[in-house]
């Protein structure tokens, strides 16, 4: 309530600030024709550098830092210049240095000129193209210098910063991987953890290069006017300088192999207490934003700022911070034209992949023909055998592709129970990354969003890390919804598997609905799904459908040349054929109940077919087999002639035991793995036409097809009473499945598609180049 009150009270002041900054922006625009063009910073050499260390009454810190620095300089071997800028020390630091280290050049200042001014003077007297600025509480490692200098790999690099460590007893507050974000109007600076991709890529962007442990291009530093005086005596000058450099198109990067140890706030903590320091940092953040941010970014910042006043800084400090307003306005007016927006700059430091995609797109090399491809499979369910038909398909294909190429898998884990199946993927993949299914943020304002539940930030972050560390030759999104992440791979070929054409599955729901209002709602859902599905498919280079019917569903919404079919197979060795020990009274239904068509099928069968079957064959027993049965399905188990098993370790026992396997599906599309499994295991089956979609199913030959409840019941009863017929169906089914649905053939087809696509791409590129 108090904050809301502050928001209202401060509104006129904030609006006035906005107007003032707007005026300075107008003046800047007016002055822009007279401003000189961006100068060329010229050539530079990274063989040697000038190391500038600023000191103020820090003899005790120098005693530790100078020997380490000189050792590092000596270890590098080049002709480096070491300068100590003394900010008017009174603790005999200068005398101590002169006596002990005559090789060090000392720049004596009469009085303390602050961090920014002191360093600016140090850079001015430096004689090399690269200047390394160090704090006197920074203990460098012996090999810290060369990675810093190697970071200046091209003309655009302005600064290279070291990885910062803290003494063991302190919490690591800094890493060097600097970034910032704006939350409710307030700007927050942060240090991100140094991850694997930082080490593998070596040089990734940072928002700012710390003024106490970084190397700078001298010419650029001077061109930018060095550290700004506004922030005197200390803090945020380095952020401001790097940000100004970014705006001019000059990059700041992290060299994670260059390490320094920071005795944090060794100097400033002697001058200011903790509270004062905190207030100083916060007010400088405001100045930084007011000087550097674009006007449209300042509007929400300024309007929401009072809301965080009591939380982030006291009101009095905020009012005091307004004293620098004239200086800030002057700085804005003199600001050179920018090349990158605030949003881009903040995004690159937080998401290095975006930076790589923008500036390092040449990193993708075409692989040669016989080379192992690096394939990334992005799946929304853990590929595994045993519970889920779709997951089984992905696993079978992935296993066969992984035998030939280097496959990395990133997948959601539905629950902790999935850990049990993780070893299957680990055994065949090069690397497996799992992300637990968590909360997602609703982004859309439209009713019904079919895929947003898979667009989880944690998954995106993990995928980004993977993509940042390795350049994949191909990314395959299993299930359409995972293509939400395709924006992370603008230069990589992308495949999507439409394990189920979602909009067609929704359309089947419309057909079975009788309530007109619900029908309209479901029709809307179908259209919305179709729109989203088409949108996602457009982002891919190839859409893999599992049946010809599925391909036809997508025709018209996706270019034809993108569509291809790789059918689903069945593991013929695992689901071995058996005719023995059949329970002549048993009917089996198999299906994971997380999949809503299975739920509908079971209710449909129980309500409309099973009573007829029981009437004709009272001894019949129905086994409902499948993971995650909901309460209403569990409740069916209370009946005498129904058993609900839930998840079973080995599903084959039920196929082998069943006299009849039923597939009474009315909704959903795609290939039904359970039909293939039933054929392979030698089960006689009764199924609806929808369940046989995309399969070589022939009525009365390898399966009984029934379109309505009475036909379904009749066929089931017939099979229950006629074991010979069952045997004939089973034998025919096994022969067909052996001919048409082996996984090895499907796997080969998939690999061929990958390879031929990449080959075509390579040829096209060569043709283009020639």
């Amino acid at each position: 309530m108090i904050r809301l009150l502050l928001l209202i009270i401060f509104l006129p002041l904030q609006l006035a600030l906005l107007v003032l900054i707007g005026i300075s922006e107008c003046l800047k625009l007016a002055c822009s024709p007279f401003r000189k063009k961006q100068p060329d910073p010229g050539t530079f050499s990274t063989d040697s550098c000038s190391l500038v260390m600023l000191n103020w009454n820090g003899i005790h810190l120098l005693q530790e830092s100078i020997p380490a620095l000189l050792e590092a300089v000596q270890a590098d071997g080049a002709d480096h210049q070491v300068i100590v800028v003394d900010n008017g020390s009174t603790d005999n630091s200068v005398e101590w240095l002169e006596e002990r280290y005559p090789e060090i050049e000392i720049l004596k200042l009469e009085k303390n000129r602050g961090f920014g001014k002191g360093n600016n003077l140090g850079v001015e007297v430096a004689r090399h193209d690269i200047v390394v600025l160090l704090n006197n509480d920074m203990i460098v490692r012996k090999d810290f210098l060369r990675p810093l200098l190697d970071g200046f790999s091209n003309q655009d690099i302005f600064a290279v910063t070291s990885q910062v460590h803290f003494p063991a007893e302190k919490r690591r507050e800094e890493t060097g991987a600097t970034s910032a974000y704006v939350s409710r109007g307030w700007l927050h600076f942060t240090h991100l953890p140094v991850k694997d991709h930082h080490l593998s890529r070596k040089h990734l962007p940072v928002l700012w290069a710390g003024g106490g442990s970084s190397a700078f291009r001298k010419s650029m530093f001077l061109e930018l006017g060095g550290f700004s005086d506004i922030y005197s005596p200390c803090y945020q000058e380095d952020v401001d300088l790097s940000f100004r450099a970014w705006k001019m198109g000059w990059h700041s990067i992290l060299a994670p192999e260059s390490n320094v140890l920071h005795k944090h706030r060794g100097t400033s903590s002697r001058l200011f207490d903790e509270k004062h320091l905190k207030a100083m940092v916060e007010e400088r953040k405001l100045w930084f934003a007011w000087i550097n941010f674009q006007l449209h970014n300042l509007v929400p910042h300024l309007l929401l700022l009072p809301f965080g006043l009591t939380k982030w800084m006291p009101v009095s400090s905020y009012l005091k911070s307004l004293r620098k307003l004239p200086g800030i306005m002057a700085s804005r007016i003199h600001m050179p034209a920018r090349r990158f927006s605030d949003k881009e700059i903040l995004n690159w430091s937080a998401h290095p992949l975006a930076y790589l995609n923008r500036f390092r797109s040449e990193r993708f090399q075409d692989s040669s023909e016989n080379e192992k491809l690096k394939i990334l499979i992005v799946s929304c369910y853990l590929p595994h055998l045993g519970t889920h038909g779709g997951a089984g398909r992905v696993f079978q294909l992935m296993k066969r592709v992984a035998a030939r190429h280097e496959v990395t898998l990133i997948t959601y884990l539905e629950s902790e129970a999935d850990q049990h199946f993780l070893d299957q993927s680990r055994a065949c993949c090069h690397k497996v990354v799992t992300v637990p299914r968590g909360r997602y943020r609703t982004r859309s304002w439209y009713p019904y969003e079919p895929f947003e539940e898979f667009n989880c930030d944690v998954f995106r972050e993990s995928l980004e890390d993977l993509a940042c560390a390795t350049d994949y030759d191909l990314v395959h999104f299993e299930w359409t919804q995972m293509a939400e992440f395709s924006d992370l791979f603008p230069f990589t070929p992308k495949f999507i598997t439409e394990v189920e054409v979602n909009w067609a599955a929704h359309r089947t729901l419309v057909k079975v609905e009788s309530n007109p209002l619900k029908k309209a709602k479901k029709y809307y859902n179908t259209l919305q799904t179709l729109y989203r599905e088409a949108e996602l498919c457009k982002k891919a280079d190839r859409i893999v459908c599992v049946t010809e019917d599925d391909k036809n569903y997508m025709r018209g919404y996706v270019p034809d040349d993108k569509l291809l079919v790789v059918k689903t197979g069945v593991d013929l060795d695992y689901f071995s054929y058996s005719e023995k020990d059949r329970d002549v009274n048993s009917i089996v239904f198999v299906g994971a109940f997380r999949h809503s068509p299975n739920l509908d099928a079971m209710h449909y069968f129980h309500r409309e077919i099973f009573p007829e079957v029981i009437k004709a064959c009272p001894e019949t027993h129905l086994y409902i087999v499948g993971s995650a049965p909901p309460d209403d399905i569990l409740a069916l188990g209370n009946q005498e002639n129904i058993t609900v098993t839930g998840f079973v370790e080995d599903i084959r026992d039920y196929y082998w035991k069943a006299q009849v396997v039923i597939v009474p599906l009315r909704t959903g599309v795609g290939i039904r793995g359970k039909v293939l499994e039933g054929w392979a295991a030698g089960s006689a089956m009764v199924a609806t036409p929808l369940a046989c979609q995309g399969l070589e199913a022939r009525h009365n030959s390898n399966i009984m097809i029934a379109d309505n409840p009475s036909e379904f019941a009749e066929s089931t009863v017939r099979l229950l009473k006629d074991p010979e017929k069952c045997l004939a169906l089973a034998r025919r089914g096994r022969i067909d499945v052996e001919e048409l649905y082996g996984w090895d053939a499907m796997g080969k087809e998939m690999i061929d598609e990958y390879e031929s696509f990449l080959k075509n791409r390579r040829d096209l590129r060569l043709e283009k180049n020639s």
Binding site: R439, W445, D457, L527, Y531, R555, G556
Partner: protein, 485 residues
């Protein structure tokens, strides 16, 4: 008319219809100098001293003193010789008080001096606010020691000085203790009532049987014993009438579930006293108020067990608002001492999930509902609502699941509601944490309640336009495809 003006008038007490400010400058026969308002901000005895000192002091000598006070004490102030006029406001009813204050603020002129006692005490807060709201040329302030000063820029700090507080000993509080249990227990109740953290300045009257008089006489601070003849309802009735007609600030009784002293217990429960101190079978005590009455009724009536009071175990009701794995974590979190010290957890869940929680450590009792029978479900839900637990816990993560349970969370009669979020961090729901609940928590990527509601509304509005757009989009896409091929 809410504002009642009782004028002590030397000119015959003639009622004047003009505003008080104007009246103050009216000549009343006495030598009238400046106008002085005294706002009643302390008890009568203190205010009498304040008025006397003001009248004798240099700032208000020969001035016309108007006292602004509660209408119950108007007559008393009227009788004081130095008071010229009394302006009263009604003793009860917040709206009546606000109306009276508004009238006073709008219609009263600017007096030369306004006087009040500001001693850091919390009572008479509204009158103190009125003192600040009333316009006056000067403000005379008395502190707790009745030292006065005229408020100006040099002595503003004295307003907040610790030394301003009243150092006078606390007022004696009249306490009536009902004999509602064995004589030893009543003696213990008398002793505990006088504890420093209960009523240290208690002036005790005991309502008891004649046979208990001897044993209770010797108890310290028992000022009076109102005894009735043993086994005589008539005597009890007469004595009860006499005793309750006296004004006692606090009444004290033991409610321990036993049937003894039923009449006295009934009388204790029915007495129209503002402060009622209840002891349970374990002789823990609490004041009867809207937060504790449920516990007192549900648990306090039992003999010495299930006490709702501080040192005893806390009965925590956990509602099934997540999947079993999460619920297990939630239960262990709810049982942590810093969340619920000495917690005894009752879990309310579906019958089918009983197996998941059976034999789970930390759960004392599992109450289940069945989906098969609506009647049974409603009955068990009603029992849960009126089970009066010490606290009720549920997880709110912004999800749409377990909605009935989440609704039940609001219906359970309890003083404490514990909200767990997605990561099972928890907080007690109160007016300070309500904002956290309403505006959500970014860390968990869960939309806040407010955003969710707005989103739902927008989705409802956008349904038809979006439907129309999708239909058009589909038509044009297919047409485009057909034309192409």
């Amino acid at each position: 008319m809410i504002m009642d003006r009782q004028q002590q008038s030397a000119s015959g007490g003639k009622k004047n219809s003009r505003t008080p400010g104007r009246e103050l400058i009216e000549k009343t026969g006495r030598k009238v100098g400046r106008s002085v308002f005294v706002v009643e901000t302390e008890r009568l005895s203190t205010m009498r001293k304040v008025i006397a000192e003001t009248a004798a002091g240099e700032y208000a000598r020969d001035s016309r003193i108007t006292v602004i006070c509660n209408n119950r004490r108007g007559k008393y102030y009227q009788s004081l010789p130095s008071v010229s006029e009394v302006v009263t406001y009604p003793a009860r009813g917040i709206f009546a008080k606000i109306a009276a204050a508004a009238k006073l603020l709008l219609l009263t002129g600017k007096p030369d001096l306004i006087v009040s006692v500001l001693n850091g005490e919390r009572h008479f807060r509204k009158s103190k606010l009125l003192f600040w709201l009333l316009k006056a040329r000067r403000r005379l302030i008395f502190d707790g020691h009745l030292d006065s000063f005229l408020l100006d820029s040099s002595n503003r700090k004295r307003l907040f000085s610790k030394s301003r507080k009243n150092m006078t000993p606390p007022r004696r509080i009249d306490v009536l203790i009902f004999e509602t249990d064995a004589i030893e227990i009543v003696r213990e109740v008398i002793r505990k009532t006088q504890d420093s953290h209960v009523i240290p300045s208690a002036q005790i009257t005991v309502f008891c049987r004649e046979s208990s008089v001897e044993a209770l006489k010797s108890c310290p601070r028992v000022k009076k014993i109102a005894a009735y003849a043993d086994h005589s309802p008539v005597s009890w009735f007469k004595q009860a009438l006499r005793t309750i007609s006296r004004k006692n600030t606090v009444i004290v009784g033991v409610l321990n579930g036993r049937k003894r002293f039923f009449l006295s217990k009934l009388l204790f429960c029915l007495c129209r006293n503002r402060h009622r101190l209840v002891f349970n079978g374990s002789l823990d005590c609490c004041f009867w108020n809207r937060h504790t009455y449920g516990q007192i009724i549900s648990q306090g009536l039992k003999t010495g067990v299930n006490s709702p009071f501080a040192d005893n175990p806390r009965k925590v009701l956990v509602l099934e608002t997540a999947e079993p794995e999460t619920m297990k974590k939630l239960i262990s979190r709810a049982a942590e001492p810093k969340v619920n010290p000495n917690a005894r957890i009752t879990l309310f869940c579906g019958e089918t999930r009983l197996g998941d929680f059976d034999n789970l450590p930390g759960i004392e009792k599992i109450v289940t509902y069945s989906d098969n029978s609506l009647k049974a479900k409603l009955s068990v839900t009603a029992r849960i609502i009126f089970s009066y637990p010490d606290s009720v816990a549920a997880r709110f993560n912004g999800g749409k699941d377990f909605r009935p349970m989440k609704m039940l969370f609001w219906l359970v009669r309890t003083p404490n509601r514990i909200v767990f979020n997605e990561t099972l961090d928890c907080f007690y729901l109160n007016r300070k944490t309500a904002a956290m609940f309403i505006f959500g928590n970014n860390r968990n990527l869960v939309d806040s309640l407010l955003v969710t509601l707005i989103r739902k509304l927008v989705k409802l509005i956008l349904f038809l336009p979006r439907f129309a757009y999708l239909l058009i989009w589909r038509g044009t896409t297919l047409l485009h495809f057909k034309l192409k091929h």
